[in-house]
Amino acid sequence: MSLERPKPRVAVYICHCGKNIADVIDMDEITEYAKHIPNVALAKNYKFMCSNAGQDLIAEDLKSGKVDRVVVAACSPLMHEETYRRVLRENNFNEFFFEQANIREHASWVNLRDHKGAMEIAKDHVKMAVAKVSNDRPLIRQKVEVTQEALIVGAGITGMFATLDLANKYKVHLVERTPTIGGHMAQLDKTFPTMDCSACITTPKMVEVGRHPNINLLTYSEIENVDLNVGNFEVQVRKKSRRINHLICTGCGACGEVCPITVPNEFDYNMGYRRAAYVPFPQAIPAQYTIDIKNCIECKLCVDACEVNAIDFNQEDEIIDLKVGSIIIATGNDIFDPSKLYRYGYQKYKNVLIAIEMERLLSSTGPTLGKVIKPSDHKTPKRIGFLQCVGSRDFHEGTHKYCSRVCCMYAIKQARQFKEKYPDSEVFIFYIDMRTFGKGYEEFYEIAAREYGINFIRGRIGEVFENNDGSLIIRGSDTLLAEKYEIEVDMLILSTAIEARKDADEVSRFFGVQFSEDGFFMEAHPKLKPVDSLSPGIFIAGTCQAPRDIPDAVAQAKAAASSADNFMFSGEVEIEPYYSMVQPEICSGCRSCIPLCPYDAISFDETTNTADINAIKCKGCGVCVASCPSNAIIQNHFTRNQILSEVRALKPWENYIKEN
């Protein structure tokens, strides 16, 4: 038996991708070219390689024994790598003897008018893929056991639904930063387009979460640290001290009554007041009081008032260690602060509000018990205006390019609510486009115009001025009539954008989740993996991923719960074998790789004085490989030799032929 490795026999398949590639790149020419690349045993082209017929083509050739490695020149590997690997797997070949050359995104789509240039690029990609696959080594996926528990971060409507769905099967830990669950939805008065009361549909779910035997509810708690072992995430949660023993507190409210400190209530968007010993709102879950130690003067009047002696000023933060199999991130969104858009006068003019403040004014549980009043004189406004796209669809620094999706609908909803309360009032909505995209939304909009007589004016406000009496003069241009307008209103409501959480980068660091350009968390695939993050076992749902409304957030919550279930159900998970390995005989123990690892996967072995990489935590990003001064780190499937073989393939053709 010869010890020399047999020469690789590569099969190259060129995909037309319908017309996506074939229209730009001449299929016969590139197939003919591929046949002459060293190590290529055969080359074919087909209309859709990803179809069953295309996969059968590969399977047949593999079975014939003529080839043992496969290159498919088609779309992005993100799209179909798994499809082709499965074909190799099913035919008893190691699935890592496969490379995908992306000649759609990288050659044809970007060179629609330059067919010759596209061909050059496509040829290079195919050549590189053949060189790489010729040097590929067989790899085996490791299997790891998965803990049958889940962690949900954030207890808004998304987090609550994901929790409830999973809790029927697994133990679920629900971590929430604020003293109560419920999130933004608990702050809303009514929900579009059905106009059902937000509290009436949220609170029963909150109660369910609070009572479920499988749910470990950790409110007023924050994630302290996460160890990213796929399938066995180790999470440290800091349960902040409420200064009240939650096992004893009955939520009677005696402490709040005697507390002499009043501070603005965050739940009412700082328009109402609460005490330093408080519940954010009466229906809060858990219905237990919290002492806000930042504002507390420690007069301890509450200690005497509490009949069950639940108050304990010596209570300290508690660190809870969890081990979970999967994590769903549902940390939600922040609201854009329009005070930097000085032209709209927020926080400069008294009667300019943002929509969430209007929501609290409209709410029967709000600071005014549902009476809408002007902050300037506490009288009910006669004419109000809503300005759309504040902070959205704006390319300025500090604003957002995207559409926030919900503002059109909540403005119409608030306008309708206002009209219902005050039928004699006049309501204007100043918009760029009305985007009423969901089920029943267009009908909701049409009725607002026809039956409620709300004035929709296309044209954004350019400038706002304040009169002495606090009323506002707004100027803009009606783009449908091509005429300028000037309107006096008593109150202006800014429909502010949804934006990513300000501390989202902290969350991303904990969980190794990536960002999209807009600051929200990035899904693994915009269409096909909408709730998966790039880290296996970690899922994202709700408005932390993109602006969305309640029905969409709930749908995502359920999708994420189902994905997490899918991930944990089999009890074990396969790890991609792309991880890096340290060659201890070469490692000098300089430790320069350790702080660079974004996944905290490298540790230092004191006994051998070398670095050690945890294969399960490693995501194969390659940072350590590139940084190692003594080339001691190898990354599977992307070894030095494999990558350089691709680079060498790019040499002029004649040289390349000579060398091979």
Partner: protein
Amino acid sequence: MPQDQKLLKYSSEYSDELSLDDELKKIRSCIQCGMCSAVCPSGSFTALVTRKIMRKALAGDHSVLSGPEIWYCSTCFNCYERCPRTIPVTNVILRLRNMAVREGYLPDNLKSVIKNLANTGHAVPLGGPDSKWAKLRELHKLKKVPPTVHSFPEALDELFTLLDKIKFNARIPYR
């Protein structure tokens, strides 16, 4: 800003009046898609832009009544037929004409029609006993003057009674 510059001041005056009628009320759900204008035969040759008429009526812009555009409509009902929000565009224009007249706006050519009516009892009068119409009637063995207000000048008084009753002279002076 200089005072003479024209600035829109929105008012729901016209749309409120139109909304008294359940059909005409639909104008409020106009989305300004422009389909009505696209198929308007009169709009191809005149300044009539039905889309703008709808918008101005909703905005309460006075120029919709004072301007001549609403009178260019030939009431072909093309717009009525195609409006995706089923707004009776033609009917809205007809109602706007009523409102315009009430405010005293009427184009000169139509004013002369009113004058004819006031003087002769006919919007299109025969033009006296020697007109070509009278001769034509004679040729066909008909009475020279038809048995209408032309034959009964006293009937003109009844017309004046009606017109006075609705205070028409105050709106469009015809005598």
